[in-house]
């Protein structure tokens, strides 16, 4: 080994100490150490399970509260409850939200974050983080415990602070109806706890920008690969992909299921399948020689190139990996070592499958009619306020009794 390379090796150790002997740390490795990956990544099944558990726990709490309230009121006027036993009866009165109703209700409130963010002229980042906070809160809580309205406002307020877009509480509440400073400030800490004190949210916009640059590098240089693709074409692809992220991803749950680069690629694929596919093929299937070169000489521009490749390799999605924490690193290494045509094809195909799945889920946003939401809203109110529900019923039956 020449002196020059020896020094370089030592210097590289400086960079990566104390993991000196390991391979370079890629963006992908860094993402795997983020709380977003460690705490907030789910498979579709585990996400459903978590939400069902939150709904069930909420129902249990609401039921308990209902029972206690019912018994208190019953004790005050036992004769009324005896006479109207078929209406004033626990099973009949108990009002809870089903899992599906709660999901619809939460979607409705998630959508409401968008106009609020717009009203305050908040950057996209704040809006996305607010949505993330709101959704995460209801992975461990239920609307039958915390009404979503103020949780939504507080998520926006906290997200604004976390994303460095400070709004004073006074100017914030000035714009809201029937909400006081205390309503929000009291919830801020509760939300922070439900977030398990993790506030940093990685969104797909930064990787999207990275891909926009890399598309140019791969598809336009040294000479254009596709006769009808220019900087302008890619610019418009990038803009449309941003719009798609804004319209679809914000409202869906893909952020819990896929990594930000996967979501970014999904956006580009959905906007222009032909160009994106060409890019992916070029990256995976036509670069055997270049990939070998990257492995051997880890220098300059090529290094960056390999980083982009690692970024894509991260596609072994959060979704596919059952045992993500151990499994994934191996997968990444494996990918690097096997540079055979077959394994590259495999990677490419896995990636496209992942992207398609992401698009599909992103498009499955369920919207509900106003009437439906109104009905859920009414139920939620009674689940949270059983006293109002029972008293209303008592009034009703006694009134009927006197008039008839």
């Amino acid at each position: 080994m020449s002196v020059g390379t020896e020094i370089k090796r030592e210097a590289e150790e400086n960079v990566e100490q104390p993991e000196a002997k390991k391979k370079r740390i890629s963006n992908d490795d860094l993402f795997r150490r983020s709380t977003q990956f460690e705490i907030w990544s789910y498979t579709q099944e585990s996400l459903d399970k978590t939400k069902r558990a939150a709904n069930a726990a909420g129902a249990k709490i609401a039921t308990q509260k209902f029972n206690e309230t019912f018994e208190t009121i019953e004790k005050e006027q036992p004769e009324v409850f005896q006479t109207h036993n078929e209406t004033l009866n626990k099973d009949k009165l108990l009002t809870l939200l089903s899992f599906e109703e709660e999901a619809k209700y939460l979607n409705y409130y998630t959508q409401n974050i968008i106009p609020i963010a717009k009203f305050f002229k908040m950057p996209t980042q704040v809006k996305l983080t607010a949505v993330s906070f709101f959704r995460k809160f209801y992975l461990s809580n239920s609307v039958m415990q915390y009404h979503p309205k103020n949780i939504m406002y507080t998520s926006v307020f906290l997200a604004a602070k976390s994303e460095n877009y400070f709004i004073s509480i006074d100017s914030f509440i000035k714009a809201l109806k029937d909400t006081e400073a205390k309503d929000i400030l009291d919830l801020e800490f509760i939300i922070l706890q439900s977030l398990q004190f993790t506030l940093l949210v990685h969104h797909a916009f930064r990787p999207l920008y990275g891909f926009f640059l890399d598309f140019q590098a791969v598809l336009l240089h040294p000479s254009p690969l596709m006769y009808d693709v220019s900087v302008n074409t890619l610019g418009s692809l990038y803009d449309k992909a941003k719009t798609w992220l804004n319209d679809n991803v914000v409202l869906s749950e893909v952020a819990f299921l896929f990594t930000p680069p996967q979501i970014a690629l999904a956006a580009m694929y959905e906007v222009d399948k032909r160009i994106t596919d060409r890019y992916l093929k070029r990256k995976f299937l036509k670069e055997h020689h270049e990939l070998d070169a990257i492995k051997e000489e880890d220098s300059g521009v090529k290094k960056e190139d390999s980083e982009v490749i690692e970024k894509i390799e991260s596609t072994e999605s959060v979704e596919n990996g059952e045992d993500k924490k151990d499994g994934e690193n191996e997968t990444a290494n494996e990918h690097k070592e096997k540079s055979t045509v077959e394994s590259q094809r495999e990677q490419y195909e896995t990636l496209v499958r992942t992207i398609r799945k992401c698009i599909k889920i992103a498009k499955q946003v369920q919207t509900s009619s106003r009437e439906e939401v109104k009905e859920i809203d009414r139920k939620c109110f009674y689940a949270l306020n059983p006293k109002r529900l029972i008293e209303k019923q008592v009034k009703k039956v006694t009134k009927e009794a006197t008039t008839s």
Binding site: I7, K8, E10, A11, E12, N14, V15, Q17, P18, I25, N27, L30, R33, S34, T35, E38, I39, A57, P123, Q125, S140, N141, Y146, F157, L158, K161, S162, N164, F166, S168, I169, I184, L185, E188, F189, I190, I191, L192, Q193, S194, Q196, F197, T198, L199, L200, F205, R206, Y209
Partner: protein, 338 residues
Amino acid sequence: MATTSTTTAKTVPDSIVQNKYSKDRKVGEGTYAVVYLGNQVSTKRRIAIKEIKTGIFKDGLDMSAIREVKYLQELKHPNVIELVDVFSTTNNLNLVLEFLPCDLEVLIKDTSIVFKSSDIKSWLLMTLRGIHHCHRNFILHRDLKPNNLLLAPDGQLKIADFGLARSLGNPNEDLSSNVVTRWYRSPELLFGARHYTGAVDIWSIGIIFAELMLRTPYLPGKDDVDQLDVTFRALGTPTEQIWPNVSSLPMYNALRVYPPPSRQELRNRFSAATEKALDLLISMTQLDPSRRCDSTQALLHEFFTENPRPTEPENLPKKKEKVKSEDELDESNKRRKI
């Protein structure tokens, strides 16, 4: 990682906290937090508990507290202060941090301690490794100064105080130029730049490097205007030639024009520095941020591979009395237990 089991919004009663961590005595008070010394009961490990005051600010949770929690949760590195745990007691947010009994400012000021050039190299290297980890996670520290470089009992240097940190990333996003303690503030910040990069942290580290060699602050401006003068007297006034478009920055004024220092002038000022040390210093204190080296380039600099090798952390100078008083404290603790 927050190891608290708070998946639901419940508050841990104080008694449980006291079972898990002991709070021994108050060691300091910042603008938004009180810091206590304590132990993690299960491991006997010494820790610092930073109790963040909540409910006293008109606008809820303090921004500095939010930033500190946000970034420390993500950054796990031997040269970044470790956030051991986060828990809440009634109305308080508690950050459990590794215990770091000393900081670089204390050592620099203690004239009874001699710094060898290998010691300086070691501290600089650890600072750069820590900031490299921040930057590759797209996080800017924005308040690097000797007082925020804390020292562990085993000599490891840890970057602390992320109250001003923020994510870097969205192209075209406006950033505040009112960051970084004045003496360590880069020229682009002094000129009020709204777009900047990790180069602001590299500048601060360059100035800290100089301070380690000089044993006195390198660019101690008396106020913001004086800071410009002090900075450019030492390093030359930036012109359009050496820094294209500098004159379009908001606070750029036709300043007194100082010539850039000659190599010989720098040699005279930093008489103990090797040529490679000077090269690195010059590279980190380039006036034009785009010409300044980044953390990778700094770490790959030949200064770190030339002799002498950086001192092993455990052999670095320590604050003498401070170490003693800690021992005494341990002694008295033992005695109390017996």
